[in-house]
Amino acid sequence: MMFRRMTRAMCLAIFLVLLAGAGKIAASDLFLRMDPALTGLAGLAMRSLTWIWLPAVIVMASALLAGRIFCGYICPMGTTIDVADKCLAPAPKKQKASYAPSARLKYYILTFAAGAALCGVTFVYWAAPLSLITRFYGLVVYPVVLMIGDQAVTAFYPIASRMDLRTLMFLEIDPPRFATGFFVLLFFAAVFAAARISPRFWCRYLCPSGALLAILSRKPLIRRRVSPDCNQCGICVRNCPMAAIDPDAPEQARHEECIVCRQCESICPKNAVAFSADAATARRLHPSVSPARRQVIFSGIAGAATASVALTGLNVVARDLSEKGTVREARIIRPPGALPEPDFLEACVRCGQCMAACPTNTLQPVWFEAGLLGLFSPAVTPRRKYCDPECTACGNTCPTGAIQKIASAERTWAKIGTAVIYRQQCLAWEYKKSCMVCDEVCPYDALEFEKRPDLPYPVPHVKEDRCAGCGHCEHACPVYNQAAIVVTPMDAIRLRPGQSFEYAAKSRGFKLKKEPQDQKPASAAPAYPGADIPDGRAPQPPGMAPGFDEGG
């Protein structure tokens, strides 16, 4: 028991460390890629079978060998639910020993999701344990922890300043904030509250990964075996968290329900239970709970049908419906490196790890802006913060490659959109104020200012071929509410794996370099007078530099 407790604590800790380091450390998506349903269903939806599914394959192989050890030892969702059970479950005496056939429900959830995945629609994020638990810790728990840290650092600031503790003085924790966080919380409140019904309710009845592993662990090599010493006292039946032991014949168990927690082994007064590969103590196998064939077929068809209805919705953005009269894509700005939209929505498992990894917190889960199929998918929200043109965190941590890893040399070419100016909102255009904040913050030099005879101050124009859509301008625009400069998904470069962003951008005529190529180094800069303007800006009207006036 001690071994199991430590293993689980360690796995949960590693999971949390990887999540906290998402985007910065290697293999931060390891746990997500171990989830059999998550990887299996995403792979099915993407029609892709590559080495990135290897961790899940290993987990599935382990089920053949030793049953659902992933559920019992590794899964952070299982561990979290167990902790919640400890806090919320009724006293053990009141628990009824059950041996419920409703354990079948999880198979139907799996086949429902598989039916949808066959149609190229992913519903995996509603049920795959690692998608759910990553969202829970990443989008709900992590911000709360950082907020508390921020409060602590702020409270300590006066002391740190007095004692001149520089690191503490200037430590600024900017806690991330997430849309839909409350929904995730409510969802988990329901999952945890199910402890009142039975321990590990989720794992028993609902988890599609549990179902997939159950199919593989009907007769694992290492499994629960009961010696003839068993006197059928039934204590193991009452303590089995998975209700895997037959109340009428405790020497028998449904191995596909067993998570190898070995509670029965440690609690048995007769020491009659052992988990071993030793066939000598084997008794006859109990018939398994099989998902009924008719219901499997039905739930699979139901999944496919639901997917089909979703795909024909008007607000769908999953397919490029280029015929006349169709609604064009929603104004969702995807993170840099996101696959073309249909592929992206198939591949994205909505784990939220990219959002937890995003250092500027611009990546947010969307509700229905991207249609039903885009639920919880990540979007760049420049008004919240810009998307740093140096950063590749989201792609580095995406478990399915829905957001590709971008080589740092390619990063500045991964255009995610184009800024447009709403002149009627703009301080310079409409309110005749001196404002050039968009130009000041633009790392791509994508704004140019024009001095017009009818306006007192220069007014901005976007140079579309230089704009990468990073959103520095929209974020910093001093106009309240609706910014006067807004990033749209126009001209975003969405590529399939293996294609070059630099090549794609250049072939479309974009000049997306943070330091423009034609910028001369200082040593080579011509000394004035007569110095030319090197960056291709329109020359200023003679006589007046921007911001200067006639004097007085």
């Binding site: 702020t154 600031y157 300043s161 001149d164 520089r166 690191t167 003085m169 200037f170 600024e172 900017d174 500027t360 740093d388 140096e390 301080l427 104020k433 001196s434 404002c435 050039m436 904040v437 130009d439 000041e440 913050v441 633009c442 790392p443 030099d445 200012f449 101050y457 220069p458 910093a476 001093p478 106009v479 330091e515 423009p516 910028q519 180094p521 200082a522 040593s523 800069a525 000394a527 004035y528 007078p529 007569g530 110095a531 030319d532 303007i533 090197p534 960056d535 800006r537 200023q540 003679p542 006589g543 007046m544 530099a545 921007p546 911001g547 200067f548 006036d549 006639e550 004097g551 007085g552």
Partner: protein
């Protein structure tokens, strides 16, 4: 935030400001009496290599000890708001900041901080500007960025015309001496970005200044945050395309120092070409307004200018 400000805070602050003013006034008097014929210039203009030029310029104004006393808490405000290197001339040259920090240390400063509230990501600014590395050669963690609103405190600006209140970095309010070390550069909104415009790097909400009259609110802010010493880095001048560049970079290799922020800015404006043309200082609205309000002098032809080459 307003409700959080207790009267005692403001009183304390005003007291500090009064103390600062007396201190600055006194320190003006002492060297003046020592120099028999008041040889000290209002403006020091030095050409040459950066570090010796900064030291020479400060020396000509009476040395750093005129501004920094033993135990003084000093804040140096350079431009380090952009994630670009010195060649682009959007940030102050790291050697200017380093030379100033060294002079402060030699003058016996108790604490020297190099602070800015940057536009670009903080780490990239500290690193790419070279200021972080240059300063850590003197003292670890000297150059810092401050952005979290909790590290600022609301302050009323008495006599302000546009910007009647703002949030100033606490570390600046706690400091005894403020040194402005602006990069000489053009600015498409304010004409130029020099010591006065640079004070926007010490407050939290800058956006509001663009909705107000930018020039007028720059003067309001300068009346609150008046540096004791200004050292303009014109080793390179971003003559066009400012504030962030890229643009035409001139290389006059000049350092301009003064205890009068308006004079320093005015001299810088009239000394270099902006967008290929020459301008006089009064063609920058905020310099003109600051002069009219008596924050300093833009009539540089009436000031005593010391020149040197190192």
């Amino acid at each position: 935030m307003k409700s959080l400000i207790k009267p005692i805070d403001r009183r304390t602050f005003l007291k500090q400001m009064r103390g600062l003013a007396c201190f600055a006034g006194a320190s003006m008097l002492v060297p003046a009496s020592l120099w028999a014929q008041n040889k000290m210039p209002d403006l020091a203009v030095v050409n040459g290599e950066i570090e010796p030029a900064v030291k020479k310029a400060v020396d000509m104004l009476g040395g750093m000890s005129r501004f920094v006393k033993t135990g003084s808490r000093v804040v140096i405000k350079p431009n380090m708001s952009f994630a670009s290197g010195p060649e682009r001339a959007a940030n102050t040259h790291p050697l200017v900041v380093k030379a100033l920090a060294q002079l402060c240390r030699q003058a016996g400063a108790g604490r020297v901080l190099v602070l800015d509230n940057p536009l670009a990501p903080a780490e990239q600014c500290i690193e790419n500007s070279g200021i972080g590395a240059a300063c850590s050669a003197i003292e670890k963690d000297m150059a810092q960025t401050v952005s979290d609103p909790s590290r600022f405190r609301e302050v009323e600006i008495s006599g302000a015309k546009s910007l009647k209140q703002t949030d100033v970095m606490r570390e600046v309010l706690n400091a005894d001496v403020l040194i402005a070390a602006p990069q000489a550069k053009s600015h498409s909104g304010a004409g130029v970005s020099l010591s006065m415009k640079g004070m926007m790097g010490l407050i939290s909400n800058r956006r509001v200044m663009h909705r107000l009259d930018l020039h007028e609110s720059i003067v309001d802010l300068a009346s609150l945050l008046t540096p004791d010493l200004v050292v303009v880095d014109a080793s390179r001048v971003l003559s066009s395309g400012g504030p962030g560049g890229p643009g035409t970079v001139l290389t006059p290799k000049t350092i301009i120092a003064s205890a009068d922020m308006v004079a320093a800015d005015a001299y810088t404006v009239s000394s270099f070409e902006w967008y290929g043309s020459r301008y006089s200082a009064d063609q920058i609205k905020h310099i003109r307004m600051a002069h009219q309000r008596g924050l300093g002098r833009m009539d540089i032809d009436k000031l005593k200018i010391g020149r040197a080459t190192v």
